[in-house]
């Protein structure tokens, strides 16, 4: 599974994305800053985990490709997290926000995840 995700990443990137890339760098830094405050010990892992679970393949590909060409504008935690995103490995969930219900994992009927708005 992880290897296939890596291939998807390679296929996802496109040009004409200056505005989008700027936003993605901004967003990655925002995430990194929050995890830097929340969990100084494992902020890189948490940021990696977040990007892996919430960003679509093209967004991940764009930021990885940006990192590969120098990663201008990325703060340290974000830069390290994107480096990990570039690997074919999947992160361990760092927060319960990304540790989702698994099918059949409902023995006490209380595992009630909700993202409602």
């Amino acid at each position: 599974m992880t290897a296939e995700r890596g291939q998807d990443l390679a296929a996802g990137g496109t040009a004409r994305s200056g505005h989008t890339l700027e936003r993605l760098v901004y967003m990655a830094n925002q995430i990194a800053r929050e995890f830097g405050n929340q969990r100084p010990g494992d902020s890189v892992e948490a940021t990696w985990d977040h990007l892996w679970h919430f960003w679509d393949p093209r967004m991940r590909a764009l930021i990885v490709s940006h990192w590969q060409s120098g990663g201008e504008g990325l703060v340290d935690i974000a830069r390290a997290a994107v480096a990990k995103l570039a690997s074919p490995q999947a992160p361990e969930p760092q927060t319960k926000a990304t540790e989702f219900n698994r099918a059949g994992d409902h023995e006490d009927g209380r595992d009630l995840m909700s993202d409602a708005g």
């Binding site: 296939e4 995840m113 909700s114």
Partner: protein
């Protein structure tokens, strides 16, 4: 519910036991007309009799209101007691022997009714509202056959009718001055707009100080109309359409409160919507939107035929459903062939039913083969999802609405319930009038801060964007003043996380004094509020989009959760963390798998076991990659890689931030399909229009803010031929999916099969129980009112460090004011529905609230046109000079497309979820002559785009 025996066509008539149920437990036994009756202590004789099947005549009594004892027709005799006490105000007692009929009682009752009828229109029964007048029924019940006094005496029959309110009229001639309307306004709604003016024979119902209803403080909730026993207050529709012939119980399609209504019909016309007493969310109350503002369903601008066009410059062309569906399917397949599987997506509607939402996300995942599906929760409560899941293990509101009755302290943060969730606000105000304490944290002085018989103990008027600073400072007070509920934390929470958090909160830089420079909140008030929250008894937090719609929205949600855990305010009635949801089915649309990273049941798409469950059921592979969120879709569209979008019941051009960017994204797509009631703003950029159906035209379910699933019942056939779920099914079939649903109940059965928290839900169960709060499964077969009772869903509660990070949207010399946005009572969201009703008499344009000091500095007077400019764009609207906003802060609503408030909002968003930062925009306000060039250009494009080609004459 019981059917009215006189109404073979099936009008639902609810029993009225005359006085409210007693909350006391011990039973008291008495005899009524010789029959033994056992009821809770504190029950009135009237109610006890009614429960035993004896209907004592009544006029001023109803079980929605406290006993009043004014009409004197409910008199009874009690053995051993003198006189004829009123049965509504006399409580039962052990061993009491009551007689409800005797010659004496009959005589007195007839005398009373004779006097009433001597000053009542003789022909009252002849008009369409006659059936609503119970005076004649009661006269019959007491055996009155003639009025001896004639009609020549002094009377009130010539008193003029007040028809100022667009929805109901007040005919004083029919009024018996029983005070039910006054009491309903006071006790239920809490507006205190009505009173009895004059004395004796001159007594009369008066709105405010003898004003017409429309000019008074009346908020048009309809409680008085519902309470009136004589049709003196009655819906105008009854005269326009005639008396209702049939009815069904359904669920309101406006806000997240989810009020249950009886919709009363005559033929295919809705006569009125009357709140249903058994509705567990509203207990028979309503607001101006749900009660009255449903006329949009028949508005002339409603589009009833599918339409297509080659480009948005062309006029629309009406086509058959077959052509529209075939065209759409072929376009999506073409785009995917040319640009890739992930070049298209869909947006589910938080206004449609659970079943419809489930089918749209199924269409995207199984039909488009990707996960590019999102919903409007993205722009409202997505931070709630992430924040409460991290801390508690689930984002759902922790309580039911009834929980507020057991609260001692109520905290309202970034929410304005009297406008946005009015029916729940009335419940909240009832509790506040009974003595609960109130803390309001809001930049504006919202109505709750000081309203009749309610005054906040603390109002913390923070600067917009500083929620996290205020909440962290409150945590500082809790930790440093020894107010932590240590037993709760030790038993229920992760201790290492708690210790880290406590150490963090205790740092001097987080004290209210240190934080004041960011928050603007007086430290003494903040300390007082934190102490009250912690020590005042059961404390409940209610919050809204003022918390979530920030760059640190998710952090603020977690800060709220931290406070609730640290003080032990979780897991029982009266406490909790309660997000007030915006739209009727936003909870449901999220539950149904509308987010791009999650399948229904909140399972991540990367989980092979979860995917496998759906793949086997649906027979289609599920993409393992998370899809695009709405703002990401628009970015990708501008980049030229996202080309097609199916939007059901959502108007992203008006509701989403930075209108220019949304417009650019939509304009870059090759096939935008809008499935809606009206040609909304998004439709200006659409290539296919599929006509939508209203909640009156389909079966299904909505899930409200307290996780309550309720049935929506079809009362008329879809005016456009197909209910929304049927149209989605047509599209799915055209895309090659073998869908064969014949009723939404089958969709719910599928949802229950794949969604563990819904496993016990079915239409049959909902019909039997009235409503169900999920989770509903083998462990909780009738649902779950309060969550996290013995342990958190995630196991142990997790404290999260919440460092305040100021937003990057900063004020400066060019943009020195902070704009925040919100809603008003009479309008709803983008206004597509409410603007097409008479609710416009209360609010026909968005206004910019500005403090007198800021207005004076700029030479702006009340009602002047002003230009509102931000870094993103500019618009113009009229100013309302008011001290409700603090100096430096301006406020407006986003209900009107002419204003386009979102032209000025920016693309800044929550760090975790991309929820837009609607609540903080740096702006400048200056005098203006009228609409900006942009507004004029927008209007020109919109009217050009809305053209519909004249249909060709039939051969």
């Amino acid at each position: 519910m019981t059917l009215d025996p006189d109404s073979p066509s099936g009008l639902i008539v609810e029993p009225d036991h005359g006085t409210p149920a007693s909350p006391l437990a011990p039973a008291v036994t008495l005899t009524i007309d010789g029959k033994h009756v056992s009821v809770p202590a504190g029950t009135s004789i009237m109610r006890a009799a009614s429960l035993a099947g004896t209907d004592i005549p009544k006029l001023c009594a109803t079980d929605m209101l406290k006993a009043f004892g004014s009409c004197r027709v409910c008199l009874v005799e009690i053995e051993g007691r003198a006189g004829t006490p009123a049965s509504c105000t006399t409580p039962v007692a052990e061993g009491m022997a009551v007689r409800t009929r005797s010659d004496r009682i009959d005589r007195v009752r007839r005398g009373v009714m004779e006097l009433y009828l001597s000053d009542h229109p003789e022909n009252c029964r002849d008009d369409a509202a006659g059936r609503d007048c119970s005076l004649h029924d009661v006269a019959e019940q007491v055996g009155l056959t003639e009025v001896r006094y004639g009609t020549g005496g002094r009377n009130h029959l010539a008193a003029p009718i007040d028809d100022s309110n667009p929805y109901f009229l007040f005919d004083p001639a029919k009024c018996i001055v029983c005070s039910r309307c006054v009491r309903a306004c006071d006790e239920i709604q809490g507006t205190f707009a009505l009173t009895i003016g004059g004395r004796g024979f001159a007594s009369h119902v008066s709105a405010s100080q003898e004003q017409p209803f429309l000019a008074s403080e009346c908020v048009s909730c309809g409680a008085c109309v519902q309470a009136c026993p004589t049709s003196s207050l009655v819906e105008k529709r009854v005269f326009e359409v005639g008396e209702p012939e049939r009815s069904a119980v359904t669920t309101c399609a406006y806000c997240g409160v989810g009020c249950a209504f009886k919709v009363e019909m005559r033929g295919e016309d809705v006569v009125r919507m009357v709140p249903w007493k058994d509705g567990k969310a509203n207990h028979g109350h309503s607001c101006v939107k749900g009660r009255f503002a449903w006329g949009y369903a028949n508005h002339k601008e409603r589009i009833l035929n599918p339409m297509i066009r080659g480009s948005i410059d062309e006029p629309w062309r009406e086509v058959s459903w077959d052509e529209a569906i075939a065209h759409t399917a072929s376009e999506f397949r073409r785009l995917q062939a040319k640009y890739g599987t992930r070049a298209v997506g869909g947006i589910t509607s938080s206004r449609c039913t659970n079943e419809e939402t489930f089918l749209v996300q199924k269409l995207v995942r199984a039909g488009f083969g990707n996960n590019n599906v999102d919903t409007c929760a993205r722009v409202c409560h997505s931070p709630t999802g992430y924040g409460l899941k991290t801390t508690f293990g689930t984002s759902a509101g922790t309580q039911d609405f009834d929980s507020v009755e057991q609260s001692d302290v109520i905290v309202v943060i970034g929410a304005n319930p009297t406008d946005a969730h009015p029916v729940f606000a009335s419940r909240m105000k009832q509790k506040l009038r009974q003595g609960a304490r109130l803390i309001v944290i809001d930049p504006r002085r919202i109505d709750l801060v000081r309203t009749p018989h309610v005054e906040a103990d603390y109002h913390l008027p923070l600067k917009p964007g500083t929620n996290v600073a205020v909440l962290t400072a409150m945590a500082h007070v809790v930790v440093t003043e020894g107010l932590v509920d240590e037993a709760f934390v030790r038993e229920r929470c992760e201790l290492d996380d708690f210790r880290e958090w406590a150490e963090f909160a205790a740092r001097p830089e987080h004290s209210p004094e240190a934080m004041e420079r960011y928050t603007g909140v007086a430290p003494a008030d903040l300390r007082g509020a934190a102490r009250l929250y912690t020590t005042g008894g059961n404390a409940a937090i209610y919050y809204g989009l003022g918390v979530t719609e920030h760059s640190q929205g998710t952090t603020a949600v977690m800060a709220i959760a931290n406070l609730a855990m640290a003080t032990g305010n979780i897991g029982r009635p009266g406490v909790g963390v309660n997000p007030l949801r915006g739209q009727n089915n936003v909870q449901g649309s999220c539950d149904m798998g509308s987010f791009p990273h999650e399948l229904s049941g909140y399972r991540h798409v990367s989980d092979p076991a979860a995917r496998d469950m759906f793949e086997r059921l649906w027979g289609s592979p599920i993409d393992r990659e998370p899809g695009l969120r709405i703002p990401n879709m628009l970015d990708a569209a501008v980049d030229g890689v996202f080309k097609g979008l199916y939007v059901q019941g959502e108007d992203i051009l008006q509701s989403d931030p930075n209108t220019r960017h949304v417009a650019a994204g939509l304009a870059a797509m090759e096939c935008v399909v809008v499935h809606d009631l009206f040609l909304n703003e998004t439709a200006n950029y659409a290539h296919v229009f599929l006509p939508g159906s209203t909640f009156l035209e389909k079966d299904g379910t909505f899930t409200n803010a307290e996780r309550r699933i309720q049935l929506v019942r079809k009362v008329i056939e879809p005016r456009c031929l197909y209910a929304d779920w049927e149209a989605t099914q047509l599209l799915a079939r055209a895309l090659g999916l073998d869908w064969n649903y014949t009723h939404p109940s089958q969709v719910m059965d599928e949802i229950a099969a794949v969604t563990p928290t819904f496993s016990g839900v079915s239409f049959a169960r909902l019909d039997a129980l009235g409503s169900i709060q999920w989770p509903c499964n083998d462990k909780a077969p009738e649902g779950t009112p309060v969550m996290h009772v013995d342990h958190f869903v995630r196991g142990r509660g997790k404290f999260v460090i919440t460092e305040y990070v100021p937003t990057d949207e900063k004020i400066g010399p060019r943009y020195p004011l902070l704009l925040t946005t919100g809603r008003i009572l009479s309008q709803y969201n983008v206004g597509a529905q409410t603007r097409r009703t008479d609710n416009v008499v209360w609010h026909d344009e968005d206004l910019l609230e500005i403090h007198p000091n800021d207005a004076e500095d700029r030479g702006i007077g009340d009602g002047d046109w002003v230009k509102l400019a931000s870094r993103a764009g500019e618009t113009s609207l009229r100013a309302k000079v008011t001290a409700r906003v603090a100096p430096g802060v301006v406020y407006t609503t986003f209900h009107h497309p002419d204003t386009q408030a979102n032209v000025v909002t920016t693309e800044y968003s929550d760090w975790a979820t991309n929820c837009p930062e609607y609540k903080v925009t740096a702006v400048q306000v200056s005098p203006s002559n009228g609409p900006t060039d942009w507004q004029e250009a927008y209007e020109a494009q919109a009217s050009h785009s809305r053209r519909i080609a004249a249909s060709e004459a039939a051969e």
